[in-house]
Amino acid sequence: MSTEISKMRNIGISAHIDSGKTTLTERILFYTKRIHAIHEVRGKDGVGATMDSMELEKERGITIQSAATYVSWRDKHINIIDTPGHVDFTIEVERALRVLDGAILVLCGVAGVQSQSITVDRQMRRYNVPRLAFINKCDRVGANPARVCDQLREKLRLNSVMIQIPIGLEAEHEGIVDLVRMKAIYFDGEGGEVIREEDIPEELMLEATTRREVMLDAVSEFDDELLEAILEDKVEEEMIHRAIRAGVLSLQLCPVLCGSAYKNKGVQPLLDAVDLYLPSPKDVVNYALDPNNPDEKIPVTNDPDDELLSYAFKLEDGTYGQLTYVRIYQGRLRKADTIYNARTGRKFKLGRIARMHSDKMEDIDEAGAGDIVAIFGIDCASGDTFRSDKCSLTMSSMHVPDSVIDLAIKPKDRKMAGNMSKALQRFTKEDPTFRVKVDPKSGETIISGMGELHLEVYVERMRREYGCEVEVGAPQVAYRERITREVKYDYTHKKQTGGSGQYGRIIGTMSPNEEGKWEYIVKVTGGNVPKEFIPSVEKGFVSCLDTGLLIGAPLDGLTVELSDGNSHSVDSSDNAFQAAARGCFREFYMKGKPQVLEPIMNVVVESPTEFQGDVVGTILQRRGILVGTAEDEGFVRVEAEVPLSEMFGYATDLRSVTQGKAEFSMEFQKYAPVPKDVEEGLIEEYRKQREEKKS
């Protein structure tokens, strides 16, 4: 039986690396009785946290793949996606956010809002994900939840309001005060599983009362009845819950909870908050696309009795073969049903459906709208839509960032080539930001991704999961090139070599595309270029986009307008017009004054103020441009734009100049022209390569 939709919660746990989210997830599994013992992230017990199911994750103590799991709490069915915290894996976070209805933003009670929390919050905004904040590690020296709550307001511009305060901090952290119910909550028993409620300790009463007033003031904005009740001093618990929920659902309020997952404090009330305040699938509007009218967004119905519409957001190759994680937006998935892949048009018979509990699973017969489940043995790619034959909609595609770094790889042992190719095939299906190509010049296999660590992890996975050791070259940034001005073209492709000839003439303009996209505008009138050859011209130009003529790099967008041309009744053909477009590109591209572009990263460094000079030094040494600096209570946040080519090994340098007290995140910002001397060097290098090839 599928679960009633209002009782479902699909949530993500997102945070900065080392904020303790995997520990938190582990405690959630324990309290919801999905596991019977608690394992730590860097498992001294040799088991490791349950959500970190990949061997590599357990070893590094970081979560790389977002393993999915589900739990039951009270009468709610909660699907949890544990998401990676390192910025190089943001596609994982984005995939999770795409299918989730709400999230817990975990913050370290000491470090507060860190650079990665800002990146993750930006992603949550992009997908309109309502969120709760959990300030973890209240047992650590220097913990200050009130300061972190203020940071949420100042740095993330969230309307954050504490609905709990800690009882004691650092070594004295004993429990929490629930400001809604005005009760002190303690967590007894070996694993904190026994909840004891008491009156609020006298010494905390004043703070609790003040904070409650602040909370009521903030949340009353979302419920008129509560506002009246406050004025009449007749506030009831239920009214506060309702107001908080309304605030969260409208994305205008972020309730803040606190505790220490490691010390087993505050986790069960957090689960209550998920139940009470985060939306069920039917509280959120998700949109599908009609391929016949791609500009129109169509809200999904969330109705389990409607036609099936579901979305594959994650693939995993594990013990059970290919696992595909699917979010169902409407209709049902039933064992033995036939479903269709919207992209390929292929149909499949559903074999097994399962709920996943990290790397363990539980077979089920059906799942309904709103749910997240795993299906087996379906050949598909991440981002595919599965639907019933009567449904014509697809789920909108995810925002997939461009890859910015290339790495040449080759197997150490030739016998391993087969395994390497299998691994690469698998990874490209799992992760849309991981790309593979063969360099036509060197014949080398090039993998591309979002950062050094991103690619390192795949190299490591090849070794561990596919037994394939690879040699890697130096990381190379992915250069692009683009023309900078409009060029008018008039090109005729004519070939007469006996037999039927080739003829095609095209006239129009080539111009830069500022959005970095390929655009083809047809303004041909009077049939000068016959209709059937108009796509041929496009095909010809598109085949040139991967290799520019300046340094052989892919083009960062191009707009081609075809306004006129000519054809021959016998000699014109698809091939002739494709060749005309290619020839035209070769002849006119350089007249558009192309330039070389390099990826520029937005680098954010957070550091104690005492290291500000050193931090700035590391940026300037790297051709970085300081964009802004913010000072805040002994900390400084430095934002800079730095070419990716200069960022290799930055983590080590930053650590060494700041005694490990600073941290940074970086995100692709834009492609920008390289300095003249670098451009000249790249052009020269390309020229030499071409000459060598010719000779």
């Binding site: 100042e154 740095k155 511009r157 683009r482 900078t484 001005r485 830069p512 500022e514 004054k593 330039q595 500000q612 000079g613 700035v616 030094g617 300037l620 441009i625 300081l626 964009v627 802004g628 600096t629 913010a630 000072e631 805040d632 209570e633 946040r637 934002e639 734009e641 920008a672 022209p673």
Partner: protein, 231 residues
């Protein structure tokens, strides 16, 4: 077209001021609330950055993201008429010559600005020739000593400093220097008033280096295009 040419009225602006506000001086933009002081100030700052003058946008009480988004919008509108290569070049030049510095907590003081300027000079090899100061001072409450200190900072770091001030309807007539600024005497070298005129804003020079404001030259600011032009 180079960036000197791109906004010729700004060149007129400089001409009226005998070459601009000038290093070591403080200029004030005054208007009623929401008239576009920040936009004009940012336009002047970006124009300097385009002309290779290092500029500092010093802000009290905002986040970098907010300031950056605003500055980027002004820049984008300013460079709209250029082709892609010129735009990229101008943007790169502005990026190299402009920085944002934000204080998010504590009180603003001239001393903090002095420490920051010293830091940027020593560690970032950045010596602003123009400082755009946002969020401070409130001209109705600031002391003469504080403005004196700001003036000495302008001289010490050889920079021009632009600040802004609100006026109220009851303060003074639109073409008069508000009393709060008048009382600061020679500490303020230039005062420019902004007066809304339909969808545009008139710029009038209430005080220049050489005494009485020139007549016959009327400049307007268009908040939609961020351009200063002749009326």
């Amino acid at each position: 077209m180079n960036s000197k040419e791109m906004n010729r009225p700004l060149r007129v602006f400089d001409k009226i001021l005998d070459g601009g506000l000038g290093r070591g001086n403080i200029g004030v933009l005054v208007s009623r609330h929401g008239t576009g002081k920040l936009a004009v100030m940012t336009t002047i700052a970006i124009d300097h950055a385009m002309n290779n003058v290092e500029t500092l946008h010093a802000v009290y009480g905002k986040s970098i993201d907010e300031v950056r988004a605003y500055d980027d919008e002004v820049l984008e509108r300013m460079i709209e008429p250029f082709d892609l290569r010129e735009r990229a070049e101008i943007m790169a030049r502005v990026e190299r010559h402009k920085q944002i510095y934000v204080w998010r907590s504590g009180e603003f003081s001239v001393e903090r600005l002095r420490t920051t300027m010293g830091f940027l000079k020593e560690h970032a090899q950045f010596t602003p020739g123009l400082v755009e100061l946002q969020g401070w001072p409130d001209l109705n409450t600031v002391s003469v000593e504080e403005i004196k200190d700001l003036k000495s900072l302008a001289v010490e770091f050889d920079t021009e400093i632009w600040i802004s001030g609100h006026t109220h309807r009851e303060d003074c007539a639109e073409n008069e220097i508000p009393p709060a600024i008048e009382s600061l005497g020679d500490l303020i070298s230039v005062v420019v008033a902004l007066t809304p005129e339909g969808e545009r804003v008139d710029l009038s020079f209430l005080k220049t280096h050489t005494g009485p404001p020139p007549s016959g030259i009327h400049l307007q600011f268009n908040p939609k295009t961020m351009m200063i032009r002749w009326r």
